[in-house]
Amino acid sequence: MVEIIGVWCAVLLTLSIFSYLYGDNPFYKAAEHIFVGVSAGYIFTITFWDTIWPNLFGRLFPTIVQAGFDFDASYIFPLILGVFMLFRLSKKYDWLSRISIAYIVGMMAGLKFYVFLNSNLLTQIKSSAINLSGSYLSIINEFIVLVGVISGLVYFFFSKEHTGAVGKVSRIGVYFLMIKFGASFGFAVMGRISLLIGRFEELIEYSSFKYYYSTPAILVLMIIVLTYWSIKNTNINENN
């Protein structure tokens, strides 16, 4: 019985989200609000019980919170920074939260600088080496990649006017970027279509007697309600 209720809820919410194709309607609004509310509450609970409770309190109070960690005094700093964030609620001391924000931004900027330098710069330069032991096609491919990388970099010159030779090279860079975007778009659309097929397969499965024809039943009900809602709305608009 619980499974049947779950299936009916899943079908109702799926079709409610699909009803967005008809525009903003009561079904979509309800599904959207349920989705937003439930996810916000769920993530808050998960963050507290799966992250803060074991990782922070588990290290500061290992005797009370037995999460498998030993006492670690250095975790007092994240606790203080976290408490500072809560001072946002106080008008007098809300400036304390800026310390936490500044720490996160500064620390991450420094850390990312190192990571980006390695992954986006040094690895890119290192990967430019040509492998002549490969086939002719792979060598041609490496040439094309080299031209693409250089022309793409030229396109992102901001302090130089894109005229003359720079303009022509940057134009080639734009073509390379557009080809990449086109391929990426097509790839993502294929992925989305497969997701859609997955949902349809489930909806078809739930159309059977085993689930009391949940999909057609809810679909018919939604069409009736939406038709009534649409006629009512048209009348209100005409009266206005």
Binding site: V36, K112, Y114, S159
Partner: protein, 288 residues
């Protein structure tokens, strides 16, 4: 003389200290990274200093940046709000920080034109930073009376629930201008399509290369990759920011030279003309 000390002697002494310090102070295997960090920092610093000293720096025009003011102006004329979406990542992403910098400028424009502004956010800490940014922008324009604390509001942390929530805001509030500036993932097309369907002028900006195609398709203007990071410098017009952009351009020139050098030397190595693998110089040791 001061210039000579600052840009030649200090980097040289730093490198000497790094390579010849007698005790094991530094992690081994990161020599190339360290040299690159020193070179990059001093190149950028040099151009920042030049810009501060009054050197004029040319910046090529970017259509999306110019269109930002037009979009806010359009929203004001239509009496509709401006919607600003700062992406779904936290402050650990450069895109989010860049998005918040641009938010400051957009908020400044909405304050100036007295247009409504809505900033739905996905991450609590981004909400607090966005609130500070908007508040400061309104204060700078002398319109603190127009600032409302609920301009920036939390929706949810969940990616698709956030997308559904922002879609709902777009459908009901019908903003005349929509800005997508930050780190986006699979929700980008859902958001941009909805914005397109309500007829809003849309300006997107992201460094997520996999999401740029969707914005290019559905938005009126898109800041792609580094254009997005440079946008904040363009908008601020401050010599520090413009100088750093100029410095980064020179770093790119250096990269091109290195790429060509590695390509040619690897080809020569492949033909047996030289007997040295240049790519072995680029050792990378990840922090343990």
């Amino acid at each position: 003389m001061t210039q000579y000390i600052k840009y030649v002697l200090i980097p040289f002494l730093t490198l000497l200290f790094y390579f010849f310090f007698p005790f094991p102070l530094f992690l081994e295997g990161n020599e190339t990274t360290f040299v690159c960090v020193i070179i990059l920092c001093f190149i950028v610093e040099y151009f920042i200093e030049k810009a501060k000293n009054g050197d004029k720096i040319y910046m090529r025009p970017i259509a999306a940046i110019k269109a930002m003011e037009e979009a806010v102006g359009r929203a004001t004329e239509m009496g509709k709000p401006v919607l600003y979406v700062p992406g779904i990542s936290s402050l650990d992403q450069i895109d989010t920080i860049s998005g918040l910098t641009i938010l400051g400028h957009v908020a400044g424009m909405t304050a100036e034109y007295d247009a409504g502004l809505q900033v739905p956010v996905c991450v609590p800490i981004v909400m607090e930073t966005a609130k500070e940014t908007c508040k400061e922008a309104y204060l700078k324009k002398g319109r603190s009376d127009l600032y409302r604390n609920d301009m920036v509001h939390y929706v949810t942390d969940d990616q698709f629930a956030y997308a559904a929530g922002v879609n709902g805001i777009m459908l009901r509030e019908k903003p005349a201008a929509v800005f997508f500036q930050g780190k986006f993932y699979a929700e980008s097309l859902i958001l941009a399509e909805t914005g397109n369907s309500i007829g809003a002028i849309q300006i997107a900006g992201t460094g997520s290369s996999s999401q740029i195609p969707f914005f290019v398709t559905a938005c009126d203007y898109t800041l792609i990759g580094e254009e997005f990071y440079a946008a904040s410098a363009y908008l601020s017009g401050s010599p520090e920011m413009l100088g750093s952009i100029k410095g980064q351009d020179y770093v790119k020139v250096g990269c091109i030279i290195m790429i060509v050098f590695v390509f040619i030397s690897s080809a020569l190595n492949g033909y047996g003309i030289i007997n040295f693998d240049v790519s072995s110089l680029f050792r990378i040791n990840i922090i343990r």
